[in-house]
């Protein structure tokens, strides 16, 4: 599904070139559950952003479902990821001015889904995460865990093949964190959704079936 070949990304500081990612080669198949680990500044988030097409590499090739992402224009890339990728953030990143319902609905608006279909799809999500009663609340009225549930619901609404999660439990207590991980596992096992998460926690990393360790922009150990 995802194939990275010799991916490098850098910034220039004076005459020095500082590598954020250096010569990354990864193959990720459909249905995998990957955890990316590493100390702060090791390039975890950068790698996730490159995979999520929010950022592009300076060198190397990136194939997503055999499509050469590195040659695509921004608009085509945007089209590609809005069909296939859902994002979950550490800080949830819900829109404060929208209700729970509307937040979940947002990605569908950008895919021109019909109003009746949208209603049904959002309804399913609310059911699935047990937040039907909260659908008219604004994010400010929810606990962190509930907000992250909404965030995941929003990531899943467009039925993506791939979920990218950047420290999804970083702002949550351990019980809430476990719940989120359970949901990820279930998604991965039952629906075959590919999941790539960045995490600091060994415990959370263990939910995945493969761990990629990064250090100074390089893959240290590929287990």
């Amino acid at each position: 599904m995802i194939k990275l070949e010799h991916i490098s990304k850098w910034v220039n500081q004076g005459n020095n070139r500082i590598f954020l990612l250096k010569d990354i080669n990864i193959n990720i198949g459909e249905g995998e559950f990957i955890s990316i680990m590493g100390p702060s500044g090791s390039g975890k988030s950068t790698l996730l952003n490159v995979i999520g097409m929010l950022d592009s590499a300076d060198e190397g090739s990136y194939f997503f479902n055999d499509q050469p992402v590195h040659t695509l224009k921004e608009k085509q890339r945007s089209l590609l990821y809005k069909q296939h990728i859902g994002f979950v953030f550490q800080a949830y990143h819900l829109i404060d001015e929208l209700t729970v319902y509307e937040n979940i609905e947002t990605p569908l608006l950008y895919q021109d889904t019909k109003s009746a279909d949208r209603k049904a799809m959002v309804g399913d999500m609310l059911d699935r995460f047990n937040i039907v009663g909260k659908k008219d609340l604004f994010p400010a009225n929810l606990s962190g865990g509930q907000q992250q549930l909404v965030g995941i619901a929003r990531a899943l609404i467009a039925k993506p093949k791939l979920i990218l999660a950047d420290e999804p439990t970083g702002n949550l207590n351990s019980k809430q964190g476990e719940e989120i991980m359970e949901i990820f596992t279930q998604l991965n096992k039952e629906e075959g959704v590919t999941i790539i998460q960045v995490t600091h926690s060994e415990k959370n990393a263990a939910y995945g079936n493969r761990i990629i360790n990064l250090l100074d922009g390089r893959i240290e150990h590929n287990r």
Partner: protein, 807 residues
């Protein structure tokens, strides 16, 4: 999708109350001001719009040259112009002559005598050329016959009530009868001419025939306004070039012997109201400068409001950056976001328009009262109104919305979601630039206001060279038999002089505060050749005038009844005697002049005085002694018991001039009335300047609050490093001071240039000193400082421990 955006825009407006209020109120004030001013501008531009074929109708203006120099410019010209031009040039379809009668007439055969101020004699094609609506009467025969008249519907109602006026007669001044053959709708206010009483031009010809005058062939007799209707396809410029030939053939030799010449020029009637200010206009004309200045001000205000929107929207973009990031990650394209933000600005503008309506409804009466306009919602020119409204909405939404939309939609999701957002220096620079623009506009307007007020104060405070206070002026009686007029007037004057509270009485044909209507050409020293003659304005007066009005004699002597003044004595003013060729006035005393076939002697020269407001220059004047002259009676009186004095005067008036209404006014008020238009202009200018500054300040206030929030961390760090509260506040003040100073540098030449341009329409101008510029500058600095102080002081007092923790 659209509904979602709309909902979001609505929630944003509700949530950010202060921000929305500043934007919406600013926009609403701007739109309301724009609508009001544009309504006024549209009205001023709408003159003659009601006339069909107005494009092919021209007035024939006359420029008069004496000794090779342009001396006078007339709206009227020689009486023979209309018929002579029509006979000579086939491209002229028809002509209209109008002879406005300066003297009022009284209709004496109605129940109550009715005074008509400006009756016109008009030639028979009047209603064929000018499509003013006729209510009754036959266009083809109307005003053809001598002693027929057309009257306005309101006059008809006054005289005849509900009866049909057609065929009835009206009697003027107890003498001539005119048969009413037509009734027309009252002249609209936005017409350059207008009268309630139109008399047939044939009547004028017959009246003049009694004095052996034939206006149809009179080339040296001025005072007839001529209009030409040209056939389709005629080039007016080409036609204009053929006029001199006719004039040359008719009066070339005569004019040459006076060393004079006249040029006739065609002016489209549509241009008259705003671009003509000639002698003998049928109605006072407008001022295009005022119209365009006000138009400019209204643009300033709306642009200031738009800038508020742009500045505030971009300043708070950080608050919305996260939303942009999320939406992009959720799959939004940039164009979707641009649409969303544009919709927000459109909604904001739409709400502002509704509010603008309410503002107009609430303040229209105040506006009308202070500016002496008669705008009303029902009278609004609807096409202009809607065009402006829709135009402002579209342009406003686009202009204020597009830049913030582009900035906001351009954010990169990973940077904003990671909180790595920083304000771009480019955006800050633009914001500062726009604020500098707002200050420049505010300062220019304020300096403009200062200039206008200074000029008015200057004009009012200047010594006019005449004593006009405590002077009551009576208008002359109209219905008096010619044979006894002189005797009656003399006796009446004597009676008034005897009143204990009256210290002096004089009769003259002109009074200060009005232009001198009598103009005389052909005046020269008796020893000079005919070619050296020139034009002068003439005031006829009795013995008492120079003394009562306190004229300053700078050479020779004044008229004196006691010492006796034999012969035909005249006084010149300084400008007049200079024009006659005497730089030193004393040299002219005792010299004789040729004056319309008479010889007159120069007895004295008076210092120049302001016959009119300081807008007009000194004119060459000759004061002629005519003890029997008819006109105004000026009465110098004590102001202790005005009521009883006037009552006594009225009692005598009724006795001497029965059937005439006593009309009087106080001269100082009459003189000041000349400044009415200027005062109004100053007031309108002041009001809209205030609005502009107010809107700009609201924006500044909003901007200051965002900037201080964004600089909370910086303030905290500075305080931790040991900066005092004063030093922090000074930091902000310094920035503001710099921006205002920069604006000042831009505003000075701008305001100076515009001010000079405006002052050009005044013969006597105030000087533009430092104060005119410095005071507005100081005022704007103060207003600006106060505006930002609310936020700045609050921010600088905050405990750094707290502000740094929140980061």
């Amino acid at each position: 999708m659209f509904r979602n955006y709309l909902k979001l825009a609505y929630r944003n407006i509700i949530r950010q109350k202060g921000y929305s209020a500043i934007n919406i109120l600013g926009l609403a004030i701007g739109i309301a001001a724009c609508l009001l001013i544009l309504q006024y501008v549209a009205y001023e531009l709408s003159y003659e719009d009601m006339i069909d074929n107005k494009e092919s109708i021209y007035r024939v203006n006359q420029d008069r040259y004496d000794n090779g120099k342009l001396s006078t410019q007339w709206a009227s010209g020689a009486f023979a112009v209309g018929n002579s031009f029509k006979d000579a040039f086939p491209e002229i379809e028809s002509y209209v002559k109008i002879v406005p009668d300066d003297n009022a007439v009284v209709i004496t055969n109605s129940e109550n005598p009715l005074k008509i101020d400006f009756p016109y004699f008009v030639s028979e094609d009047f209603f064929k050329v000018f499509s003013y609506p006729l209510i009754s009467g036959d266009k083809s025969t109307l005003l053809k016959e001598p002693f027929t008249a057309a009257i306005s519907i309101s006059l008809a109602k006054k005289i005849f009530g509900d009866n049909n006026p057609i065929g009835e007669s009206i009697q003027l001044n107890k003498s001539q009868l005119y048969k009413v053959t037509g009734v027309f709708a009252d002249f609209p206010a936005n017409s350059h001419m207008g009268s309630d009483l139109l008399l047939s031009y044939q009547s004028f010809i017959q009246i003049q025939a009694k004095y052996n005058n034939n206006p149809e062939q009179a080339w040296l007799w001025d005072g007839c306004i001529t209009y030409l209707k040209l056939k389709p396809g005629t080039d007016p410029n080409a036609l204009e070039k053929k006029f001199p030939g006719i004039v040359e053939a008719a009066v070339g030799t005569d004019l040459k012997s006076f060393n004079a010449s006249v040029t006739y020029l065609l002016q489209p009637i549509k241009d008259i109201h705003l671009n003509s200010n000639r002698i003998g206009e049928a109605r006072p004309t407008g001022n295009s400068r005022t119209v365009y200045l006000l138009f400019g001000i209204s643009l300033f205000i709306i642009v200031i409001a738009w800038i508020n929107y742009i500045n505030l929207a971009t300043a708070r973009s950080i608050n919305r950056a996260r939303e942009v990031g999320i939406r992009k990650v959720a799959g939004s394209l940039r164009i979707d976001l641009i649409k969303q933000f544009m919709l927000e600005s459109a909604l904001m503008n739409a709400i502002a328009i509704v509010l603008a309506f309410l503002i107009i409804l609430a303040f229209l009466p105040v506006f009308n009262y202070t500016t002496n306009q008669q705008l009303s919602i029902s009278q609004l020119n609807l096409s202009v109104f809607w065009t402006v409204l829709v135009g402002l909405f579209i342009v406003g939404s686009l202009l204020s919305g597009i830049y913030p939309a582009l900035v906001l939609s351009g954010f990169k999701p990973i940077s904003v979601l990671k909180g790595k957002m920083s304000t771009s220096s480019q955006g800050v620079l633009l914001r500062k630039g726009l604020v500098v623009f707002q200050f420049t506009a505010s300062l220019s307007l304020l300096i403009g206001t200062a200039i206008v007020y200074k000029q008015i104060k200057f004009m009012k405070s200047q010594e006019i060279g005449l004593t006009i206070n405590q002077t009551l002026v009576l208008k002359r009686p109209i219905v008096v038999s010619d044979s006894i007029y002189t005797r009656t007037q003399t006796s009446f004057k004597q009676e008034i002089s005897k009143l204990p509270s009256v210290s002096g009485v004089t009769v003259s044909n002109a009074i200060p505060g009005e232009s001198v209507n009598q103009n005389a050409g052909g005046i020269r020293l008796i020893t000079d050749p005919e070619s050296k003659q020139n034009q002068y304005r003439i005031i006829s007066m009795d013995y008492d005038y120079p003394q009562l009005y306190g004229l300053k004699i700078i050479a020779g002597k004044t008229f004196s009844l006691e010492k006796g003044t034999s012969g035909n004595p005249v006084l010149f003013n300084q400008t007049g005697i200079k024009q006659l060729g005497f730089p030193n006035p004393a040299d002219a005393i005792g010299k004789q002049i040729f004056f319309w076939g008479d010889t007159m002697r120069i007895d004295g020269v008076v210092a120049d005085f302001h016959q009119q407001s300081l807008q007009s220059n000194f004119e060459p004047l000759i004061l002629v002694l005519r003890p029997n002259t008819r006109g105004y009676m000026s009465i110098r009186m004590q102001t202790t018991d005005v009521k009883s004095t006037i009552a006594s005067i009225e009692q005598k008036w009724k006795q001497y001039f029965p059937g005439n209404q006593l009309e009087y006014f106080f001269l100082d008020a009459h003189f000041d009335a000349q400044y009415k238009a200027d005062n109004q202009f100053a007031l309108i200018f002041g009001i809209f300047t205030f609005l502009a500054i107010f809107v700009a300040c609201m924006g500044l206030f909003g901007l200051a609050s965002y900037i201080t929030i964004q600089r909370t961390k910086e303030i905290g760090i500075r305080k931790v490093l040991g900066a005092s509260v004063q030093q922090i506040i000074f930091l902000f003040y310094k920035e503001l001071g710099l921006m205002v100073s920069l604006s000042f540098i831009v505003a000075i030449p701008l305001a100076w240039f515009a001010g000079k341009k405006w002052l050009q329409s005044f013969a006597f101008q105030t000087n533009l000193n430092l104060l005119v510029f410095a005071l507005p500058f100081i005022l704007i600095v103060l207003i600006g400082l106060i505006t930002i102080s609310f936020q700045t002081i609050k921010a600088s007092l905050r405990n750094p421990a707290i502000s740094l923790r929140t980061e």
